[in-house]
Symmetry: C2
Subunit: 225 residues, 2 copies
Amino acid sequence: MKKAVVLLSGGLDSVTVLAIAKAQGYQCYALSFDYGQRSQVELQAAKRAVKHFEAVEHKILRMPLDDFGGSALTDTDIAMPAGGEQETEIPVTYVPARNTVFLSLALGWAEVINASAIFIGVNAVDFSGYPDCRPEFINAFEKLANVATKSAVEGEKLTIEAPLMSMTKSQIIEQGIALGIDYHLTVSCYQADEQGRACNQCDSCYLRKVGFEQAGVDDQTHYYQ
Amino acid sequence: MKKAVVLLSGGLDSVTVLAIAKAQGYQCYALSFDYGQRSQVELQAAKRAVKHFEAVEHKILRMPLDDFGGSALTDTDIAMPAGGEQETEIPVTYVPARNTVFLSLALGWAEVINASAIFIGVNAVDFSGYPDCRPEFINAFEKLANVATKSAVEGEKLTIEAPLMSMTKSQIIEQGIALGIDYHLTVSCYQADEQGRACNQCDSCYLRKVGFEQAGVDDQTHYYQ
């Protein structure tokens, strides 16, 4: 049976990706990161998704990205921007090299378990401002992966799967519901409280809300403000 | 003044790279990893090198590569091979995706401090068996780095510098001595003891010994056996 490492934050996108990988017949090895982000409750959501979609294994790695700073997601000195504002620059919520680091660690695990794919929930529609959410980034990483490892040198091809790349948030939600996701169990907010309630203000809350509205689906997110 | 992140294990190669980066006029930000490797004393050697070559800052990140296993360097269930044996396959001391992970984290730091280069001590002569020590790997990572980050999107070019790539061990030692390195302070052994004494058996000890002999330099390495 083919194996995949699935990067799983516990947010709406990555949980949908886990469901897609499973539906494609992969044995899923879920990989989450505790990188000092504000929203620790995401990891609880990741655990629920792992259980629901019967991943073979779930690793949560502590990543020291917050040691470097430079992002509103890990550095509380940087103000969290409000959602829905038209941004002309790369958002301050961008974490330096985050997806490069996550994919690299996924690559290490993929090699050890002999997986043939890594799944990642990047999306160029809503996150066009993030350099490491673009197709050219994913393509460059796939090229790197195929010269970086022992398995690659021995001729085993690894693919980086980004099934959400060209989907809108509402398309992602529709796909996920068709695959049996209870989105009530996912957390999207950049600054959710300890009960998993959302702020109703950040960019991620905004995109989620618009997505559910456009999909015509009732979102049961609880807000603390 | 131009800045560089320098990957620094504390071994002979990476200390030489730090000296080279400094000689090329870079302000050096040294990055070391504690990845569950057997030879913790390497990190002490890294600290000595940072002091000697006046790096601006030194970060030591705990990396969970040992969670994945699959290498004799991190997994004590895998036997350490003896040095000098002709290997036809990739050595068991290869750590899955190690240099990919290290370069990714260096990239995150490089972006935050606005560095224009990352230095890494990979070498294709002695380590031709390691897929992530080859020029094609370094080239693929450089391409990735230049689409992965905010700085890249904004037009700032980052280079991956691997100055030892085509050098023999004795050439590296000669270069390092010319730049003022006291190699007595470096540790190469894969299984050094707590006093920094080497095993005199592993591949790394073997390569070091041959390198010093060929360079005609007295190596003051202490061995515990």
